[in-house]
């Protein structure tokens, strides 16, 4: 007999936690919290130039505005912050490095007053030459974005190059790539470019900071994926004890990496900690146009990929150079670069690898975490190159991929063995769903129809010591509270955790509650990023639930005087069939069990669980090699069936098939949601997204009118989402991360399908109507390859692309 019976455990379709209050609109996000008349509001004065010295800041007129309390400048809070590299101050000190950089903060009684007064702050600058193109910034530029780079603190696994614009350089040197290229039967070299893109979450950044006048304790309410990491970055930045910083993370309206790490919190804190303000809560709400200008972006890149093949069309070597445009800060952006680097082989078995990934500083908004964390970038280039190569060799892109894909036991580019996975079945299914080999007529008159596929791969990209912990509390009425400091930002992790607890304790799902993070009440978790939560925090939650179960069973064993293995947990009831006994989970679990000897035993039952990946070794800085560089990889594939309108350049997607090997589906409703949502986010990025700047570095796309994201009108005819379940060995239930993965392959799959439809290969994202139209026009002039890179004009891009080494 199964000792634990639950109808609401792993794998069940259930109504998700908090969906009821989300539907009603009563769930309170950070901006919805109320603080009463004590609340002050801050507004930011921002740099209008991309690079320059601050000569003077005159805020006397701002101070004259009725209701203004204080104006602060960079020197008032001269602390450096950063997750991996402390290259950021909340406000510019002496020098501005991008259009939009905060130079002053106006604090007032009302938000409108702060905004109006901010316009009255006069700043004098001496403009300096700026650099916007990552290739130029890395190789040819006399402009240094951070001349002080050598003085910044950083973690060991990030390697800034002093006196250059390179914030991190990640290398792979595996096998003998030189020999592989010398002996190759075929060598191909291609370039792909992509601009920075924006997260486009619907809730902009918002935080409220307050410091107690007596204890000095700081409380921060913030729209963040990373309550504990905000706490830790701030503690390190200002030299403050952890226990005196409390971070409360209310529900957030979308994250996608854009609310990971520390974002705006230190800026608000600059005001809240000021002696004249201390004690009062200070709110900093970032309006949309400022948010688009001054929050993380996904890094743009210029990628060059060379590939060596033997006579049998096996990939024998790869040489990657990725110039990531990390903008003004690499404090977080250093790591997606590393993440892309240690997956330089993509989903393929390539014995010889030479890879250089650079995080390059430019005078633009700062690159950071974005759903997929380096892999949509890498794979949007690599999967296009693979497609090009297969066409040049004259074999089917599907067969070429299957022939070269990494199988169990093959080594990744960092030298770790690949685990088992279901990629082959996924490729077959995707190919079948879109009938990839079948040429079909377009559904729209005059349009051209094409099919394309692309593979996805990603490991959770995190430091080796990214840990999680959870507490599971049993209440006296048989309900449960779970403290797990993951941010449920819509992906639905609280639903998954409740299912895990139900699985282990048999208690019905609706009796299990999970609450939003508060560093004062919750035990530590690193961050809600990297598709790690259901895996890493899942381990902790499962362990905590098992801990509760063990305590419960031990107490009932003594209470009923029967061995533990005669007791079962069934749908929230404790039973011993042998003795014919049944008990609800009731006050006993809180107030103690009166044992046969008349003594009370037990007391409130609290379970605890901790987890840290046990065996991760940082790659060697010179070769990128490590026995185990990452915890696991999730693989998948996307197939696109689409049509192109040659007269307008428009692309319409008939059908997408998208599948991933998730190991085990904990919450199918979440999984479907992640696949559907990420697929459209990937389509949107591919077809319409790119931050555009003028020649002075001013953002031209600061709102949803100019920066288009997909609406209902841009949805595909059909999204097929499916998954394989080849279990992961070290995992709570065999599950692997999948939250980010659905965004990796849609863009290259579209690119490949557009080639299939038109014969034109577009090397620059996005594949906007304008660009597709131009590419098709170029095709009529005999150019089948189309490249556009706005900032490479001055390095004679087409000539330079062969000579970057």
């Amino acid at each position: 007999m199964k000792p634990i019976k639950s109808q609401t455990g792993i794998g069940k379709w259930l109504p998700r936690k908090f969906d009821d209050v989300k539907a009603a609109g009563t769930l309170q996000f950070t901006d919805d919290l109320r603080f009463g008349p004590e609340l002050l509001h801050a507004a930011v004065v921002r740099s209008p130039i991309a690079h320059g010295e601050i000569l003077s800041i005159d805020f006397s007129q701002a101070l004259e505005v009725a209701g203004v309390v204080k104006v602060l400048v960079g020197e008032d809070f001269p602390h450096h912050f950063g997750l991996y590299l402390q290259d950021r101050t909340p406000m510019a000190i002496g020098r501005v490095r991008y259009v939009g950089e905060p130079v002053a903060l106006v604090v007032a009684q009302e938000e409108n007053i702060a905004r109006e007064a901010a316009k009255k702050v006069q700043v004098q600058y001496r403009e300096l030459e700026a650099v916007f193109d990552p290739v130029k910034a890395a190789t040819h530029s006399g402009v240094l974005v951070h001349p002080e780079l050598h003085t910044y603190n950083h973690v060991d696994f990030v390697l800034p190059q002093p006196h250059t614009n390179i914030g991190n350089w990640f290398k792979i040197r595996k096998g003998n790539p030189e020999e592989a290229f010398e002996n190759a039967a075929h060598v191909f070299e291609e370039v792909v470019t992509c601009p920075q893109i924006a997260h486009g979450f619907l809730e902009t950044h918002c935080s409220i900071c307050q410091q107690d006048i007596a204890s000095g304790e700081i409380t921060i309410w913030t729209s963040s994926q990373s309550a504990f990491t905000v706490r830790d970055i701030i503690a390190k930045g200002i030299g403050f004890p952890l226990h005196k910083i409390r971070v409360i993370a209310p529900p957030i309206g979308g994250g996608f990496g854009g609310k990971a790490g520390m974002t705006i919190e230190a800026l608000g804190l600059a005001a809240a900690m000021h002696p004249e303000i201390r004690g009062r809560p200070v709110k900093l709400f970032i309006p949309r146009e400022e948010d688009m200008l001054t929050s993380w972006v996904r890094q743009g890149y210029v990628a060059r990929i060379r590939m060596a093949l033997d006579e049998q069309h096996r990939i024998t070597g790869i040489h990657n150079t990725f110039w990531f445009d990390t903008g003004v800060s690499a404090e977080y952006g250093a790591n997606p670069v590393r993440s892309a680097g240690y997956t330089s082989m993509g989903s393929y078995n390539i014995p010889n690898v030479w890879s250089d990934c650079y995080a390059v500083y430019t005078n633009k908004p700062f690159g950071g975490a974005y759903r997929g964390f380096g892999l949509p970038e890498l794979m949007s280039a690599l999967e296009v190159v693979v497609d090009i190569v297969s066409h040049r060799l004259g074999i089917s892109p599907v067969e070429f991929r299957k022939k070269n894909m990494m199988r169990k036991g093959d080594t990744t580019c960092t030298g770790m063995p690949m685990h088992d996975h279901g990629l082959q079945a996924i490729i077959d299914r995707v190919a079948k769903d879109i009938a990839v080999e079948k040429k079909e007529p377009a559904l729209r008159p005059g349009w051209k129809r094409g099919k394309g596929i692309a593979l996805a791969i990603k490991a959770p990209a995190m430091p080796a010591d990214a840990s999680s912990s959870a507490i599971v509390k049993l209440n006296g009425d048989g309900t449960v509270e779970v403290l797990a400091a993951t941010m449920d930002m819509g992906q639905g992790t609280y639903t998954a955790y409740a299912q895990m607890v139900s699985e282990e304790l048999s208690i019905p799902y609706e009796k299990i509650q999970v609450s939003f993070p508060d560093t004062k009440s919750h035990p530590y978790d690193w961050q809600t990023v990297a598709s790690r939560s259901c895996w890493s925090m899942g381990m902790a939650v499962k362990r905590a639930a098992v801990d509760v179960r063990n305590q419960l069973l031990a107490l009932f064993s003594e209470f009923w005087q029967t061995p533990v293995d005669t007791i079962t947990l069934e749908y929230g009831t404790v039973m011993c069939r042998k003795l014919g006994k049944t008990s609800a989970i009731d006050e006993k679990v809180q107030n103690g069990f009166k044992m046969p000897d008349g003594m009370l035993k037990g007391g409130p039952i609290i379970g605890r669980g901790s987890f840290i990946p046990p065996d991760i070794v940082y790659p060697d800085p010179d070769t990128g090699q490590s026995p185990k560089s990452v915890v696991h990889f999730t693989l998948g594939a996307v197939g696109m069936d689409l049509e192109v309108d040659p007269t307008t350049g428009a692309i319409a997607i008939n059908r997408v098939s998208s599948g991933y090997d998730v190991g085990k589906a904990i919450t199918p409703a979440n999984l479907r949601g992640q696949i559907e949502g990420g697929t459209l986010q990937g389509i949107s990025a591919c077809l319409m997204e790119g931050l555009a700047y003028d020649e002075k570095g001013k953002l031209l796309t600061p709102d949803f009118t100019d920066y288009k994201i997909a609406t209902t009108l841009d949805t595909p005819g059909e999204i097929i989402s499916f998954w394989e379940e080849v279990p992961e060995e070290l995992s709570p239930y065999g599950n692997r991360g999948v939250g980010e993965h659905s965004m990796i392959a849609p863009a290259p799959a579209i690119n490949n399908a557009v080639f299939n439809a038109t014969g034109s290969r577009i090397h620059s994202y996005p594949l906007s109507r304008e660009r597709v139209f131009k590419a098709l026009k170029a095709q009529r002039n005999g150019e089948n390859d189309f490249v556009e890179w706005p900032y490479a004009l001055d390095v004679a891009f087409k000539k330079a692309k062969k000579k970057w080494d």
Partner: protein
């Protein structure tokens, strides 16, 4: 308060006083009285997270001035909840995976409500058109599309009943 005017309107069935300066948006005025289901997503009419039903029509409350709503009837998603029971549209959003972060949801629900009032049996294309002013970054709109169709089915008997009277 200097510069602010009293505006009387009906919010979710209750006679309500808003305090509004000349440049106060309806979005801000509603949030000031604690109606926070209307969200500040863009404050320039682009995202739809602040959608309300104003005298029967869906409007973006960030581009309506509060002083314009004197005497008007305003419905927000809180107002769809009756005696602790969610409206069938809200329930359909839950059932069909139309909700992730929930920030766009109140606006999306109201745009659906308005669509089904005027067109109880919309086609896929009509659903897409009606919701194209409400952005969602999480769901890919797939669950939302399912939820609208389900809502139409759930509400059909009710709406038809209403027509026959």
């Amino acid at each position: 308060m200097p510069g602010k005017k009293e505006v009387w309107c009906t919010v979710n069935g209750k006679k309500t006083r808003l305090l509004a300066a000349g440049n106060t948006t309806l979005l801000q005025a509603l949030r000031d009285i604690g109606v926070t289901s209307v969200k500040r997503g863009c404050e320039e009419g682009e995202c739809g997270a602040c959608t309300v039903i104003l005298d029967g029509l869906p409007q973006k409350s960030c581009i309506v001035l509060a002083q314009e709503v004197e005497g008007a009837t305003i419905l927000t998603s809180e107002g769809l909840v009756q005696n602790g029971t969610l409206h069938p549209i809200q329930q359909a959003f839950i059932d069909e995976g139309a909700i992730q972060c929930g920030f766009c949801t109140p606006g999306m629900v109201l745009s659906t409500w308005a669509l089904l009032q005027s067109n109880p049996n919309p086609t896929d294309e009509q659903i897409k058109q009606a919701l194209s002013g409400n952005l969602c970054r999480c769901t890919g709109y797939a669950g939302i599309q399912r939820a609208v169709k389900k809502s139409a089915k759930l509400l059909a008997p009710k709406l038809q009943g209403g027509d026959s009277q």
